[in-house]
Amino acid sequence: MTPKTVHIQYYAILREQRGIEDEKLVTHAATPAELYEELRVRHGFTLGGDRVRAALNGEFAGSETALRDGDRVVFLPPIAGG
């Protein structure tokens, strides 16, 4: 599979554990779930993939959605509004 370039934004606990707010990344990950696992291993994120949702290009997305070149990805830790 050809690698793709994605733009990732981090919030809350993931932003703190990554140490930056956003980055561009070349990846072979096919889905947000695969991409999160790649990042979790690399950066030691404490949240397992089962507790993180994904947003693609400004909208909620399933973790098994196909990633495309140029996608803007946001990983959403467990929410706590209100």
């Binding site: 919030y11 949240l47 909620f60 830790p77 929410i79 706590a80 509004g81 209100g82």
Partner: protein, 143 residues
């Protein structure tokens, strides 16, 4: 396009009096408001304040969907709501909801719907600061 119903993320203090004024209309016979405040205790730990962080574009999109759903489901006349981001102290206003309807039942039901859905669906995160100097992202503890 109408500005209502309306949901906003606010990085500055919410002016609830101004929002309430936005709701005034002759057809309304009932107005229900909800204020969520920062409480000084959570699960037995003394809390000194909160930091809220939001994925703002998606939080505003989802919040707008929620207030629109509330109007439709309960035949409310309109809904205005705002949620804070940034650093808040105990007693500060974190979320404000105002609903007007022709009758009280719809206004109560729609207001309850909005706060429940906001809490379940908005991409907003909360870090609590505790009296002992520590802090924690809520719901993010390692299990």
């Amino acid at each position: 396009m109408s500005r209502f119903p309306m949901f906003k993320i606010s990085s500055t203090p919410i002016d609830s009096a101004a929002l309430l004024n936005e709701l005034r209309q002759g057809r309304a016979g009932a107005c229900v408001t909800f204020e969520g405040w920062v409480r000084d205790l959570n699960e037995g730990r003394p809390v000194t304040g909160l930091d809220y962080e939001a994925y703002v574009p998606l939080a505003e999109k989802e919040g707008q969907r929620i207030v629109s759903e509330a109007v439709e489901k309960f035949a409310a006349l309109t809904v205005v709501s705002a949620h804070r981001t940034g650093s808040l102290a105990v007693g500060d206003l974190a979320v404000w909801i105002g609903v007007v309807a022709q009758h009280r039942s719809a206004a109560f039901d729609a207001c309850r719907y909005v706060i429940d859905e906001l809490k379940a669906r908005l991409p907003i995160w909360k870090r609590e600061r505790y009296a002992d100097g520590s802090s924690e992202w809520i719901n993010c503890a390692t299990r």
